[in-house]
């Protein structure tokens, strides 16, 4: 799938030349883990990723962090550099909500391609479940919506997604079962992942009959909140060889962003969301020189069940309005048409943005997923992040082999 866009072709040449790779991953225990600070998790995850790559801490010369929902800092990346004891020559904090983790990969790649660093540690960690105060939670909900023109009406974060879900049900005649099926598949996958928070089986009826949060969404349509840290190391194939990294590498084939709105008030229609998801995906697909049918597995941001349907459709895996039946028929399960979130996602594994989506894609491409969780012949993965209320999007395409 060649692109006529010279900028896409240029990006493709840059990625082909540099052979950007994910060379190490680390995830701490996820769940309810009291008595550990945000910076404790960040440090532990960093150490695990460095050890997984088999390199020294001093080999790392770049740092990308995100933000903390608990411990607010003005300069997050350098605050962590100080805590962890490193002096990176490239540092950046990415803060685009749920689109952050995926964009960390791109941020690191751009830094490497422009000579800012050679080995970039990307890390996020937080004690969101144990550490956030009730006033901190209110502040977070307030930040997710327009403080002056939306929050006074009592909008919550699940409520924002419920607004999108309700309109989706209306536009396509979709049902509660369609949404619930997403949560059911995520739970099935989480059961196969050792480091997952919620593993007990879930049925469509369980989801629909769980506590109503904001109609049409119930408790199990909403992602979990957890404590934990996760990190990955981005470098080049050449540098990985030089450092003697023995892991199979996951290669960056393409990346893109798409933006719809920040506040739902300025959303024109659902197509505005689809277009943003599609723009993000298309840039990544075209740079990679592939299309949706070439993807072996997808890691889609699943903060709420509705987002998975919007992303499946916006990215072009299924036509608009057909994500629901696709989910309900179990076609997102391992071994089926398009395995989605083989680690259980935000709905069942843990919530650290899309950090675990990036890590699971890497583990799958490496062939390191345990037992029946491993997707057979997994060669191409797509990872998509969504920040805000389906507002800001980022996509990467990763491959088992170098981009050719």
């Amino acid at each position: 799938m060649a692109s006529n866009n010279p900028h896409i072709e240029e990006a493709r040449e840059i990625l082909k030349k540099n052979k950007i790779v994910i060379a190490g991953v680390g995830e701490t225990e996820q769940g309810k883990i009291p008595d550990k600070s945000s910076f404790h998790f960040l440090s532990q995850a960093s150490k695990l990723a460095i050890e997984d790559a088999g390199i020294k801490k001093s080999d790392v010369d770049g740092l990308v962090t995100a933000f903390s929902l608990v411990e607010h800092t003005f300069m997050h990346c350098t605050t962590f550099a100080d805590y962890f004891g490193m002096r990176p020559r490239f540092f950046s904090s990415v803060a685009v909500g749920g689109a952050t983790a995926v964009w960390m990969v791109a941020e690191a790649a751009m830094a490497i391609a422009t000579g800012q660093a050679e080995v970039v540690l990307c890390v996020r960690g937080d004690n969101t479940l144990s550490g956030i105060s009730s006033s901190g939670m209110v502040a977070l909900i307030r930040e997710m919506c327009h403080a002056e023109f939306e929050f006074p009406y009592g909008l919550t974060t699940p409520g924002g997604y419920a607004l999108a879900a309700q309109r989706y049900l209306h536009d396509f005649g979709a049902t509660r079962e369609h949404l619930a099926a997403v949560a059911v598949t995520m739970r099935k996958h989480a059961a196969l992942k050792e480091n997952a928070m919620n593993k007990e089986p879930l049925t469509v009826e369980d989801v629909i009959n769980s506590r109503i949060i904001a109609e049409p969404l119930t408790k199990y349509d909403c992602s979990i909140i957890s404590d934990g840290g996760a990190a990955f190391i981005i470098t080049t194939e050449e540098k990985a060889k030089e450092l003697g990294i023995e892991n199979n590498l996951a290669y960056l084939w393409g990346m893109g962003q798409g933006y719809s709105h920040q506040y739902l008030t300025t959303l024109h229609d659902l197509d505005q969301i689809y277009n943003a998801i599609n723009a993000s995906g298309q840039k990544a697909f075209q740079t990679a020189g592939i299309g949706p049918s070439d993807v072996d597995m997808a890691f889609l941001y699943d903060c709420f069940t509705i987002t998975v349907l919007l992303e499946l459709e916006g990215l072009g895996f299924v036509p608009k309005g057909e994500g629901g039946p696709f989910a309900l028929e179990g076609r997102m399960e391992i071994g089926k048409d398009l395995p989605v979130n083989t680690h259980g996602g935000l709905l069942s594994q843990a919530h650290l943005g899309a950090m675990h989506h990036v890590i699971e894609a890497t583990i799958q491409l490496r062939g390191d997923a345990a037992g029946e969780r491993q997707v057979k012949d997994a060669e191409v993965a797509l990872v998509h992040g969504n920040g805000g209320i389906v507002s800001a999007h980022s996509t990467v395409v990763l491959g088992k082999e170098p981009l050719s």
Binding site: R142, A147, E148, F149, F151, Y153, I212
Partner: protein, 140 residues
């Protein structure tokens, strides 16, 4: 509507550029900003038109107060402690006849009677001495 002195739900913090809007609602008028250069309405209010014109030459136009529900979510949990024990309430995005959307509550009806496309009209809820929130109720 009755004024509730003990109102402890979130209140808007006014910005300089949004003052006319909140003065309008206090007078039970829904005022929507429009660029005098492009003639286009926009919402939420900003100091400059968010359109291509980036105009600061704005006017406040009294809206008809008629709207249609674009989408809604029946909230069973609110964002703060003040909502504890409250019955479910409807947060909606409504499309005004003027073409812009705004977030609001649908009031004076059973939450489960709200439908996408339902015709609604503005009502003014004087929640404190200083703040009046425009809300919408079904057109009878």
């Amino acid at each position: 509507m009755a004024e509730d002195k003990s109102y402890n739900k979130p209140l808007p913090e006014f910005r300089p550029e949004t003052k006319p809007y909140w003065e309008g609602t206090k007078n039970h008028e829904l005022l929507i900003p429009r660029s005098k250069e492009s003639g286009e309405f926009f919402f939420y209010p900003r100091a400059l038109s968010p359109g291509e014109d980036m105009s600061e030459n704005l006017e406040w136009v009294k809206a008809s107060g008629k709207a249609k529900v674009w989408t809604y979510a029946i909230h069973h949990m609110g964002p703060t402690k003040a909502y504890k024990g409250e019955p479910p309430y409807v947060v909606a995005l409504v499309e005004l006849d003027e073409g812009v959307k705004m977030m609001t509550n649908i009031v004076d009806c059973d939450p489960h009677d709200v439908k996408v496309g339902m015709e609604v009209e503005v009502v003014f809820d004087d929640v404190t001495d200083e703040v009046t929130l425009p809300k919408f109720k079904p057109v009878k």
